[in-house]
């Protein structure tokens, strides 16, 4: 570990996480391809992970990293199921357009 010659302000980490999260939000809103939407979801989850780790480091507790493990497990399970759905979407509708499956309008 590099010794703490200069500490990192907590606020700046949170600014960074907000920016990353909002990039993910914009990505979800502008793309129609399912793969890009999943990619943006990964970005948003990583932004949450940054805040958890920063909070854990600030309070000098391991809890932040434990939450990171849970985010990792969640992301792995989510990606496995979502990519199965992507394969099904591609086989049945011959497209990756998310609007192709908007049949369940109330």
């Amino acid at each position: 570990m590099i010794d703490g010659a200069g500490a990192i302000p907590l606020e700046h980490v949170i600014w960074f996480a907000i920016t990353l999260f909002l990039i993910g939000v914009v990505g979800i809103l502008i793309r129609r391809n399912v793969i890009f939407i999943l990619l943006s979801l990964e970005l948003m989850m990583n932004a949450a992970a940054v805040v958890f780790i920063a909070a854990g480091a600030f309070h000098d507790q391991a809890d932040g990293q434990v939450m990171f493990m849970f985010i990792l497990a969640l992301a792995a399970a989510e990606v496995a199921v979502a990519l199965g759905l992507v394969v099904q979407l591609s086989r049945r509708f011959k497209t990756l357009d998310i609007d192709a499956v908007s049949e369940m309008t109330g």
Binding site: M1, I23, S40, D63, G64, Q65, V66
Partner: protein
């Protein structure tokens, strides 16, 4: 020194994230996502979480993104899909989402600036030993639940993939 490294990796992460959501080719976007994740691993390391940084590289960049790449290659998206992406990604489509996101950014920023709190992260290293002790100590129920979630994900992914294989065999 640590602060400058943090700023540089933040810049790389944000730039690569912006590139990732605007690419037309899915594989290029995934490579940019890998760069974002590696930059985030550096940030985790600088925040004093070496175990999280290692897991970020091994599991996120090494397993999850590879899974994405496998699917992209299996679907065999060619030049046609790039053309279609260009049609879907209309020039002005990003304006309204960006304004909404900017509004959210300003609101959160006001909340942050209003805090007036010069909290510093010293970057004390929290090693795998302490994380492991916490995971089998107070968080043991959460770990069990994560195991159940992973099992559910496994069964779901198998189910979705298996039906695809059956259909293919019938053809």
């Amino acid at each position: 020194m640590v602060y400058w490294l943090f700023l540089v990796s933040c810049g790389i992460a944000i730039f690569a994230a912006l590139m990732a959501i605007t690419r037309l080719n899915a594989s290029h976007a995934l490579i940019y996502l890998v760069i974002t994740l590696l930059a985030l691993a550096v940030v985790f390391f600088l925040l004093g979480a070496p175990f999280a940084a290692a897991l970020q590289i091994v599991i996120y960049a090494g397993a999850i993104v590879v899974l994405f790449l496998f699917v992209v290659m299996m679907l065999n998206l060619g030049r046609r899909s790039v053309e279609r992406e260009r049609q879907w990604l209309l020039p002005g489509i990003w304006v309204i989402p960006s304004i909404l996101a900017g509004g959210l950014f300003i609101v959160l920023g006001i909340a942050l600036i209003g805090a007036e709190n010069q909290a510093m992260i010293e970057g004390e290293m929290i090693g795998p030993r302490r994380v492991g002790a916490a995971m089998i100590g107070p968080y043991v129920l959460g770990v069990e639940l994560a195991g159940i979630l992973l099992l559910a994900g496994l069964v779901g992914a198998y189910h979705l993939g298996r039906r695809y294989l059956d259909e293919r065999r019938e053809r």
